[in-house]
Amino acid sequence: MIRERPSALDRTFSQGEHLIWLTGAALAVCLLMIAGLLVIVVKNGAGYFQPHPLTQADTADGGKILGVLLGTESFRKFNATNSAVEDLTRSQFKLGNRDVYGIDFKWFEHTEITNKTRPSEAVALERDEYGDFYGYLTALKEQGKVIAEGDAAWAELQRKHPVARSVAEERLHVQKVEIGRVNAAIQEANIQIKRAERRLPPGAERDAATAKAQAIITTQQAEFEKLKARAGELQTEGQRFVAVMRTADGKEKEIPLAEIVRAFKPNAMSSSAKAGHYLSKVWEFTTGEPRESNTEGGIFPAIFGTVVMTLLMSIAVVPFGVLAALYLREYAKQGFFVRCVRIAVNNLAGVPSIVFGVFGLGFFVYFVGGTIDQLFYPELLPTPTYGTGGILWASLTLALLTVPVVIVATEESIAAVPRGAKEGSLALGASKFQTLCRIVLPASLPGILTGLILAMARGAGEVAPLMITGVVKLAPTLPLDATFPFFHLDRKFMHLGFHIYDVGFQSPNVEAAKPMVFTTTLLLLFVVVALNLAAILIRDRIRKKYRTGAFA
């Protein structure tokens, strides 16, 4: 019997073409989701830096508003008088001027506002405190006397602002860095006194040590008074130039130039001025410190904290994971127990990260840290030094969280080292250890680095375990600075992932913080990509160097 020709549909199924379509579709969906994520983050995050135009409008009650039009949405409202549902639209304005109005974001229904314009004279001021100020510049005063008015005032403000700002920056430096240093010295001297009282017997030696520390305290206190006076002078100096501002509804407000971060006329800016403004904001964001409870300014401490923490984690996780994998693969007797260990390691990778956080808190912070405090810093107790969250404990917790990834990747790459290379080495009279060090490890280095890349990608984005092992909303100092011993592993630190959570959900001014959420997310993505890229480049170089034979 002659077999019938199969139908086109049958052919499609028998050749598995439907599966090809299915796999292709699955890949397309994955790519679309990733692209969508990037588009949303970039769209919401990148706009944060641009100078937003100011819109002026008349309100129904006869007032005037001036602010940034943030967005418009339509909504339905039930009108009780005629029992009808009305379709309305409303717009959200950022009015700024928190010190004048109390609130800086407001919704207006479109029926309420008329006569929208974009006056070119409108001035936006970014300030150290109370957020942005939107209004018009009427005059500039020096020591209470008007020195310029109208257009001349704007030109004069541009001229005087850098000088006034440098005064403010110097004051900040004195308050934060120099007084901080004096405080640290006094604290250290106090510790010396406590240490002397605790460790030395009463007598001449103890008295000498105490007196020496007391002398330090006395000189440092004199220094402190001097610095305080200097800060006061700078504060007064900062009040010298004052901009007289008028809000849209006619209220006057005097703002010292020293408190102004940036002054610009967004409606009158040229494209190049806008680009300059954008770049200056990006620079401030990536290198500056946060202001206004993290809703303004930069996030450098968070970037720095994330990078340092990830590097510390890598330093901890690689030797640990590689040694464990070497033992498992090369020395342990393969059998039931090793199989169990391997299953346990794999399962460890799936344990929720907060569980690791709790372990880190209980083991590293309370047990290890507490013991270190008992042994080395007993004078400071009950104030903990290492017995509280810090960057070291957070890094070690993350190292523990990511060690399964490194173990699995290392084991696989060790297993992939050609048997011939190992046998060749042993046949030349090399011991097993020499073979491991000289042949197996170099050849599996790229695989180990793949493990590290995966570990970093996971570790850099983890937030939950950090929250209980040392991350804070605002760290006064970086974990690495110029004061001895430079690395302060006991310090608390800021982290981009936690920063996103903090500005997004813990901020007192939710509306002001919203753009920061996306911008910080964008930056976190950049940091993770940069760290991974660095590791990938290193891996490729090593791969070229230790390429194993592809043929023969």
């Binding site: 393969q334 290379a421 080495s425 009279g429 000289r438 390429r547 034979g549 592809a550």
Partner: protein, 278 residues
């Protein structure tokens, strides 16, 4: 040399043999001796009561069909089988008078004395120089001048020096298959072993590269004892002085190569060398 390679006649048993007569060779002392050596992988026995003696500074070939145990037997001599789980060995083996499976035997010292060249050339992913320096370095030689000299001498002995002297510090993986195998031989002789085990060293090579490796083996037998496993009976006939025929884990016949190929005393051997089975 290449002329003689391309026009090499089949089974010219004596053409490339050295001048030494079988009687002279027979006077050489035994360097490897086994006494009822048996080996099993778990339940299956791979070698059954093999007793034989291999003479010093001759080429001994192991022939036999696949799975007959000749490679396994070879790998006993430098205890490479130790690396495989579930291997049990009974019987005795002496290398140069020392008991290889005895309690006092240092495997590392044994392997320095018994070098090995594998079927698949396995240069390390390092430079040509470092490949040869490897065995010397693990043996503790650090002096640069000694290293340089030994490496040059080994490459010359392996007839590779002229081809690679200008690129010693390039990756060994850039060499051709035949050059890689000769590099592996150079690597093995650099640490001056007494015995070199070769496990089908030319099976992955083309005829020209095979010819070079064979020439090299003939050169090397002045200084080293060579035990070679081969599937290629012509090769065994061309280069070896003694041939052992293995079948199903047993040593069937062991005699001078001339005798095995021209007048074997066992029917199985005759069937195999004449190509009637295997």
């Amino acid at each position: 040399m290449s002329d003689s390679l391309t026009s090499r006649p089949q089974l010219t048993v004596t053409a490339r043999q050295n001048a030494e007569s079988p009687e002279e060779l027979a006077k050489r002392k035994n360097i490897i001796e086994t006494e009822s050596l048996s080996l099993s992988y778990g339940e299956s026995r791979a070698l059954k009561n093999i007793t034989m003696a291999i003479r010093e500074r001759v080429v001994t070939a192991f022939i036999g069909p696949s799975g007959c145990g000749k490679s396994t037997f070879l790998r006993c001599f430098n205890r490479m089988n130790d690396l495989i789980d579930g291997v049990t060995i009974r019987g005795r083996l002496w290398i140069d008078g020392e008991e290889a499976f005895g309690p006092g035997m240092d495997v590392i010292e044994l392997r320095k004395k018994v070098g090995m060249v594998f079927q698949k050339s396995n240069p390390f992913p390092k430079t040509i120089y470092e490949n040869i320096a490897y065995g010397l370095r693990v043996a503790g030689i650090k002096d640069k001048a000694t290293l340089d000299e030994t490496i040059e001498q080994s490459l010359k002995n392996a007839a590779l020096w002229e081809e690679v002297k200008d690129r010693l510090h390039e990756s060994a993986l850039g060499l051709s298959g035949g050059q890689q195998q000769r590099l592996c031989i150079a690597r093995a002789i650099a640490i001056r072993p007494e015995i070199i085990l070769m496990d089908e060293p030319a099976s992955a090579l083309d005829p020209i590269a095979t010819g070079r490796v064979e020439d090299l083996i003939l050169d090397l037998k002045r200084d080293f004892t060579i035990v070679i496993v081969t599937h290629n009976m012509q090769q065994a006939a061309r280069i070896s002085d003694y041939t052992a025929f293995f079948y199903l884990g047993e040593l069937i016949e062991y005699d001078t190569t001339n005798k095995i190929f021209t007048n074997p005393s066992k029917k199985q051997t005759e069937d195999y060398v004449t190509g009637r089975f295997g």
